[in-house]
């Protein structure tokens, strides 16, 4: 019992250290970070003042014990004229799409297709109807969800029609969990140069470093873009437990057994007295 107590104490003490570990490997693009070098800026930046400044209401999304999904506020300023588009993308991973089919009267997973490079989360917000903005030529860089998903790679090749079905299934499941929100977000522009947008994140949010990319468009062309990494991760007790379960599963198992033994024993003894 004392050992378990010490273990728990150690976990609590180690929590802040873990939180710091997350921060380090990430670049810290402060306010008004330089545009991503991979993007060809069609208009050169004026020296001194950047054309686009972006910040988030929180530098990271912390999954605490009370986490039920969260909305972050993205806000910033740009040199008018122009339109703002925000694309938030979760970390890419391999996803397995399962399809239930009727087999001898029972529904079971018979179809299965794996895809690589599937974004965990995908959300777009824009200050004007996106179709109009994209139609004017920015489509190469800013991808709608459909366009983005056309780039995911099937692990096993199949006929295009079958793949399209599974891709549709993937969207269906992600929509259900609000990971691919069905509606575009609204970027609100005030005083011609201030803008803000609400980024909704659901409760079943995969962990990892999300990419929040803000584009400034002028005449349908990307003028500049600011990319901000948004780390999403469990913190404190949750992080410790989940980390423990991954790093040292056997010890975690022993801990779980001891906890159950102690609680069962004490509970039985106490409730019998009452």
């Amino acid at each position: 019992m004392r050992r378990l107590g010490l273990l728990l104490l150690a976990l609590v003490l180690a929590a802040p250290a873990w939180a710091q570990r997350v921060e380090q490997p990430l670049p810290a693009p402060g306010i008004g970070a330089a545009p991503d070098s991979s993007l060809p800026p069609s208009v050169p930046n004026t020296p001194g003042m950047p054309e686009l400044i972006v910040d988030l209401s929180s530098p990271r999304l912390s999954i605490t014990s009370a986490f039920q999904g969260e909305s972050l506020l993205l806000f910033g300023m740009f040199d008018p004229p122009g339109e703002i588009v925000v694309v938030v993308q979760g970390p890419p991973a391999r996803e397995t799409v399962l399809r239930k089919e009727r087999f001898m009267g029972l529904w079971l997973n018979t179809g299965r297709q794996r895809f690589d490079d599937v974004p965990a989360y995908y959300f777009i917000a824009a200050s004007a109807p996106l179709q109009r903005l994209l139609a004017r030529g920015a489509g190469g860089e800013i991808l709608s969800l459909e366009d983005r998903l056309s780039t995911i790679r099937p692990v096993r090749p199949r006929s295009p029609a079958r793949l399209a079905e599974f891709r549709q299934g993937l969207v269906e499941v992600k929509r259900r969990e609000d990971l691919y929100p069905a509606n575009f977000g609204q970027v609100t522009v005030q005083a011609g140069r201030l803008f803000r947008a609400e980024l909704p994140f659901p409760s079943r949010l995969p962990e990892g470093v999300y990419d929040v990319r803000t584009y400034l468009l002028r005449d349908g062309k990307i003028v500049t873009a600011v990319s901000r990494p948004l780390p999403v991760g469990k913190v404190g007790f949750n992080a410790e437990l989940a980390g423990w379960a991954v790093v040292d599963g056997p010890l975690y198992g022993v801990g779980a057994i001891i906890l159950a033994l102690v609680l069962g024993w004490l509970g039985g003894a106490v409730m019998r007295r009452l």
């Binding site: 014990s65 009370a66 996803e95 997973n109 991954v246 198992g253 779980a256 024993w265 019998r272």
Partner: protein, 308 residues
């Protein structure tokens, strides 16, 4: 009040989980079975991934059986020799079961196998209990005292080799029998996250012919260690034991169990068994309905793999 479950990776209402644990505890108190057979399907209904539900429920079974074993041990109702032989089979069975579980999870069929196993198991047990309690009620009406039967009947299984003497159970039977029984219960325990008491107890009475006084204590002994083995292996290989979830279930169970035993003390045994039969059949029907009905969405996602 919502709480985020770190391994299930979703938030869930604390009171729902507490109530689920309480219901399982209530059953444990009323019928002397673990209640896992009800809690696991319910956890899956409320949206916990089946793999996490099963593994965390196994963790809860430990707490449940240790508090029950406490009493049984003190009363001398544990046939240690029988328990150890059962356990030998149970350990092999549960280890094989976790391996099977891992494989089924990898090919995406674990949900289906869990549902089918529950339907088959619960409907057969439920029907057996229902018939048994109805016929008892009927007989009692005709012959209130009832004839005194034989201690147990002898048939083919008593002619197997490798016989062992179990003094406390007043049995001289082949060790194969309890080992096989333990093995099967172990597999069940690993895949369904149940202790298996609701199968083990009738099997010990009707198949092995053990006296009812030592059955509960001995089955609790075997269940405790098998559940611990399942918890350990699930944590080590699949990482699906959610301690926060298990904790809430355990706390609910601690409160529910004494209430259940108080209810049980006021109701005649036959009525209890009939009630439990109806409950078991209800769960089985619901699970069967889920398998037969056209799902709202044909698609689901398997585990996400973040490639390095």
């Amino acid at each position: 009040m919502e709480i985020y479950l770190p391994i299930a990776e979703q938030s869930m209402n604390v009171f729902v989980l507490f109530a689920l644990g309480g219901a399982a505890g209530l059953l444990a108190g009323m019928f002397g079975v673990g209640g896992g057979f009800l809690a696991t399907p319910l956890l899956i209904f409320v949206g916990i991934p089946p793999a996490v539900a099963v593994a965390s429920q196994a963790n809860q079974v430990i707490a449940n059986s240790v508090s029950s074993l406490q009493v049984q041990w003190r009363r001398g109702n544990v046939d240690l020799r029988m328990g150890l032989v059962l356990l030998l089979g149970g350990m092999i069975g549960s280890s094989a079961g976790v391996t099977l579980f891992t494989w089924l999870k990898a090919i995406g069929q674990i949900d289906f196998v869990i549902a089918v196993m529950y339907v088959v198991l619960l409907s057969s047990i439920g029907l057996l209990m229902l018939f048994e309690s109805i016929s008892t009620l009927y007989k009692r009406r005709r012959n209130p005292t009832g004839p005194r039967g034989k201690l147990h009947t002898h048939y083919l299984v008593h002619r197997l080799p490798w016989k062992m003497r179990f003094y406390k159970s007043k049995l001289y039977i082949s060790a194969f029998l309890p080992i096989t029984l333990g093995f099967l219960i172990g597999i069940l325990s690993a895949i369904l996250g149940v202790g298996g008491g609701f199968v083990l107890v009738p099997a010990m009475i009707y198949l092995l012919g053990m006296p009812t006084t030592v059955v509960i204590g001995t089955s609790n002994f075997q269940i405790l260690f098998v559940a611990a083995n399942v918890t350990f292996l699930q944590a080590a290989t699949n990482g699906t034991v959610d301690i926060v979830l298990a904790l809430l279930l355990i706390l609910g169970g601690v409160v529910g169990a004494p209430i259940g035993s108080r209810i049980a003390a006021r109701l005649p045994g036959v009525v209890l068994r009939a009630l439990m039969a109806v409950l078991v059949l209800g769960v089985a029907t619901e699970l069967l309905f889920e398998l037969l009905r056209t799902p709202p969405s044909a698609y689901s996602l398997g585990p996400r793999e973040v490639l390095p």
